[in-house]
């Protein structure tokens, strides 16, 4: 097992291993936008040059925003504002949109204005009295880190600025954190599954940080008794803050997210135990496993033929870590290479625990980039890769027959969101494997033309 950034394998001595990277993750500015756009009846003002607006657009799509409800704006900073400061144009733009029918305007700043020292907090404070809506400044320049850092920065700012610590605690309730730090391209389905489970267990959700979340829910977050982080990549800092400041108890901490039978059972049981609803949780497990088993009996997933096939997992930690057990136990493959986009201590500990428990010793790369992934694939030559469209192309020429696209996929379009969490999630993943299996059988060349 090699916990490295891929550099230990190359043997380079003089170069900084991080000097040239082909990254998977967007920047902190994007993560902050992704978080702010999850607040309903709000607008987002990017205090940035115009190109950064495209990172906002990507976040807009990922949060499934509706342009009839949510507006994004940009100060479009040019040389003048970089030289002389952009606070005036920021103030002017905020005043320009003061009639928007919203409850909050999130002002997020990019690299340029942060380097030149624009004080977005001061501008917002000065203008707040003129506005009918709340101004929420978030300093989130791209150079502060990855999109996950941006999510943490934005959650921290939003919670510190908006949460009312005096609200009354609602027993047995919960606050959901960072559902959007999830590389399933249709992650809202994962969140929907979680909410459905919580409803069945009679656990009221006070707020979701963030997805179509009303401002009032965020303000009331401290009334939750517990919190639940829905990502292994971001959100832990918010949970720690809510715990330290308002006493929210974090549930399911240190357990892989519910992908696959064992992970789902473990996760549901932890919820059941914490909220004294173990019987209901057990029923859900039994019912879910029965549904998956009978469905498989009727549909015959081809995944069963991939017994002990060497596999690679290239994903975020949120999907990637739970997949390890699912791929190993349910699909009976053997993970030989695991490359995760992130690699903080808790990610390493969680994956390490899973591998130890399963008795696996694959090659591991934390904080991978596209080059490192390709080198890893070249070295290990797995027969199946669970990854993204990038790996489909990065694996070109390496003799890898199957690339199952489960994250960041561009080849397939989903009009209907599909979850990976829970029992239907298992079937969705089997379906992805099945479709790739069919594709791999397809002849690469036409041998002859039909006569008609």
């Amino acid at each position: 097992m090699v916990p490295a950034n891929g550099d230990e394998q190359t043997g380079r001595k003089t170069r900084s291993p991080e000097a040239c990277s082909d990254p998977y993750l967007r920047c902190a500015f994007n993560g902050a936008a992704l978080t702010a756009l999850g607040v309903s009846r709000s607008a987002l003002l990017a205090h940035s040059p115009q190109g950064c607006e495209y990172l906002v657009n990507a976040a807009f799509a990922a949060q499934e925003c509706d342009y009839m409800e949510t507006m994004t704006l940009c100060t479009k900073l040019c040389v003048d504002e970089i030289v002389h400061g952009g606070e005036d144009i920021l103030a002017r733009t905020i005043r320009e949109v003061k009639e928007l029918p919203i409850e909050a305007l999130f002002v997020i700043s990019a690299c340029g204005p942060e380097i030149v020292g624009d004080d977005i907090a001061a501008v917002c404070e000065t203008l707040q009295a003129e506005m009918k809506f709340r101004l929420v400044p978030i300093a989130s320049p791209g150079f502060r880190g990855s999109q996950y850092d941006g999510i943490d920065i934005a959650l921290d700012t939003i919670l510190k600025q908006l949460v009312d610590g005096t609200v009354k605690r609602i027993p047995g309730s919960i606050c959901l954190i960072a559902p959007h730090a999830n590389a399933n391209p249709t992650w809202p389905a994962d969140l929907a599954w979680v909410k459905q489970v919580l409803m069945r267990l009679n656990i009221p959700v006070i707020s979701t940080l963030t997805y179509r979340t009303p401002l009032s829910d965020i303000i009331n977050s401290a009334s939750a008794e517990t919190c639940l982080v829905l990502s292994h990549d971001a959100g832990q800092k918010a949970a720690d803050y809510l715990s330290a400041s308002f006493g929210l108890d974090q549930v399911c901490k240190g357990i892989p997210l519910p992908i696959g039978m064992t992970n789902t059972q473990r996760w549901l049981s932890a919820l059941g135990e914490r909220f004294d609803t173990l019987k209901a949780a057990d029923e859900m497990v039994a019912e879910g496993e029965r549904m998956v088993t009978t469905t498989c009996r009727r549909k015959w997933p081809m995944a069963r033929f991939l017994y002990r096939t060497p596999a690679a997992i290239v994903a975020d930690a949120t999907i990637g870590i739970p997949l390890v057990r699912f791929v190993t136990e349910e699909m009976e493959m053997t993970p030989k290479f695991i490359a995760l986009y992130s690699g903080n201590r808790s990610v390493r500990d969680l994956l390490g625990g899973e591998l130890k428990s399963l008795g696996l010793d694959p090659k591991i790369v934390y904080g991978t980039d596209v080059y490192t992934t390709r080198q890893g694939l070249r070295e290990v030559v797995p027969r199946v890769v669970f990854g993204s469209t990038i790996e489909r192309h990065a694996a070109d020429g390496l003799g890898i027959p199957y690339v199952v696209e489960v994250v960041k996929m561009m080849r397939q379009f989903r009009m209907i969101n599909r979850e990976y969490f829970g029992y239907t999630g298992i079937l969705n993943l089997f379906e992805a494997v099945q479709n790739e299996w069919t594709m791999a059988w397809r002849s690469r060349e036409k041998r002859y033309r039909a006569k008609w």
């Binding site: 900084s16 500015f29 950064c52 704006l73 900073l77 040389v79 380097i115 990065a394």
Partner: protein
């Protein structure tokens, strides 16, 4: 025809004058953000094969490019291999202490990893503001690696989208070596970008190349639409440069002409028979191949004569309302205005933003020089906050404008629902591409035929509701 919602009604020439004198401010509202200089510079550079665009910035800047341009557009849509989008991943510490050392390491590392024919360092806002000297680093790196290393100051705040294209094209000129020979009957096509395969709308370029080949004209390179560094090195050996789109090619064409003396054929987009004839003769005549070109033009025209006859009959006496939007885009829309006039229709172009006039000033002036000066209408909705393409105001205004004309026909895309036949010219529908040349005439005739023959079929309540909200029927 005047209504309260109209803020300008005149000719293209008059609109240009209002923009030039400052009477109409060429500024987009806060909700509209075109691409920045870095994006467009990247588009051009990534159009060279085996290049490493080395982005000197945080990860956000290259990620849009690597997801959208590299993986989706290049790999998925055009089937070309995965190429790198390298990045120095600037962090807070680099912003404080500078990132030049890291950049030099990155250039060397990029060469070792990817074995490219060319490395182009692209600076971003961060590296530009902190003053990293990317050009010196490029010179230093070039001494230490086995390929050319160029640098482009492409900070997002440093210019509008147009400046990125133009600066990148200028940079490419540094790769062009003094000619050792002359490639007879050979041209370069200028102004392409996006990815290491042909330019974004391959079909139009394919049609141009088909017609050139029929005449006997060879193409050395499509710059920068999938060309190689080797082709760029020999770019000065051609007899002539031409552009696939006047708007994007002219700057590079003019610069090469001024600096290296290679003539440039100034022609518009080949929409319709006359513009196509002009384009082909504009290239063939300087090469001494006018006779061959005339023969091709005659043959091709004969083959599309039924379509030409149909277009003359279908469009004669009509008012063609042409909308500028993302696709087909402003310059194509003006080319369409010329084409419909040729078929006897009266063109009215709506909602060309003053910003577009400013950004595309040389092309607009050229179009006016060629005698194209259509009627222009700008409406209030154009200047409102919000998404223009799905703006209820502009849709309502369009419907009102169309109702004010006799015998109207709309040229735009199917996202609009005016009470008249709609010719769906979106470039997002590959079923009717190309729009250039003689194949384009066939396709446009087919689109006009569909619009007129099926004008009474119901439009989609679903799509209209999606775009403009419930209640619009």
């Amino acid at each position: 025809m005047e209504t309260d919602s109209i803020v300008f009604h005149g000719t293209l020439q008059q609109l240009l004058e209002k923009v030039e004198t400052g009477e109409m401010v060429p500024k987009l509202q806060a909700s509209h953000a075109p691409m920045c200089k870095f994006f467009t510079a990247y588009y051009v550079i990534s159009g060279i094969r085996h290049v490493v665009p080395l982005v000197h910035g945080p990860t956000g800047c290259p990620l849009y490019m690597s997801d959208f341009v590299r993986t989706r557009e290049c790999c998925e849509i055009r089937g070309v291999p995965l190429e790198p989008t390298a990045c120095t991943t600037l962090d807070e510490s680099n912003v404080i202490y500078g990132g030049e050392g890291k950049l030099l390491d990155a250039a060397k590392e990029a060469y070792a990893k990817y074995h490219p024919d060319l490395i182009v360092i692209l600076s971003c806002c961060c590296s530009g503001i902190i003053g990293d000297d990317v050009e010196s680093i490029a010179r230093e790196a070039e001494k230490q690696v086995g390929c050319r290393v160029l640098a482009l100051k492409s900070e997002g705040f440093g210019g509008d989208f147009r400046s990125g294209y133009e600066d990148a094209f200028k940079l490419i000129m540094d790769l062009m070596e003094p000619p050792k020979t002359t490639m007879k009957g050979t041209i370069n096509i200028l102004g392409a970008r996006w990815g290491p395969s042909p330019t974004e709308f391959n079909w139009d370029l394919d049609e141009i190349e088909r017609l050139l080949s029929a005449i006997g004209i060879k193409v050395n390179a499509v710059i920068a639409g999938g060309c190689t560094v080797e082709q760029i090195r020999h770019a000065r050996e051609v007899e002539l440069n031409a552009s696939w789109c006047y708007d994007w090619g002219q700057k590079l064409g003019d610069l090469i002409q001024q600096r290296f003396g290679v003539p440039y054929s100034r022609t518009g987009q080949p929409y319709g028979p006359e513009a196509t004839r002009e384009w082909l003769l504009g290239v063939a005549t300087p090469l001494g191949m006018e006779k061959e070109a005339s023969a091709v033009i005659e043959r091709e025209t004969r083959e599309v004569e039924p379509d030409l006859a149909y277009l003359r009959q279908a469009l004669s006496g009509k008012t063609a309302i042409i909308e500028i939007s993302e696709f087909p885009g402003p310059i194509r829309a003006l080319s369409l205005a010329r084409m419909v006039e040729e078929f006897g229709a009266h063109p009215v172009v709506i909602n060309v933003h003053p910003y577009t006039i400013k950004e595309r000033m040389p092309s607009i002036k050229y179009i006016l020089e060629t005698g194209v000066n259509p009627e222009i209408i700008l409406t209030k909705g154009l200047f409102k906050l919000g998404s223009f393409r799905s703006s209820k105001e502009t849709e309502d205004e369009l419907e009102a404008i169309v109702s004010g004309y006799d015998n109207p026909i709309f040229f735009g895309n199917s996202g609009r629902f005016p009470p008249c036949p709609v010719v769906n010219l979106t470039l997002m529908n590959p079923a009717f591409q190309p729009q250039y040349g003689y194949k384009g005439i066939r396709n446009i005739a087919a689109l006009v035929r569909q619009a007129l023959e099926y004008k009474d079929l119901p439009r989609s309540r679903l799509f209209k509701g999606m775009l403009y909200g419930a209640g619009k029927r």
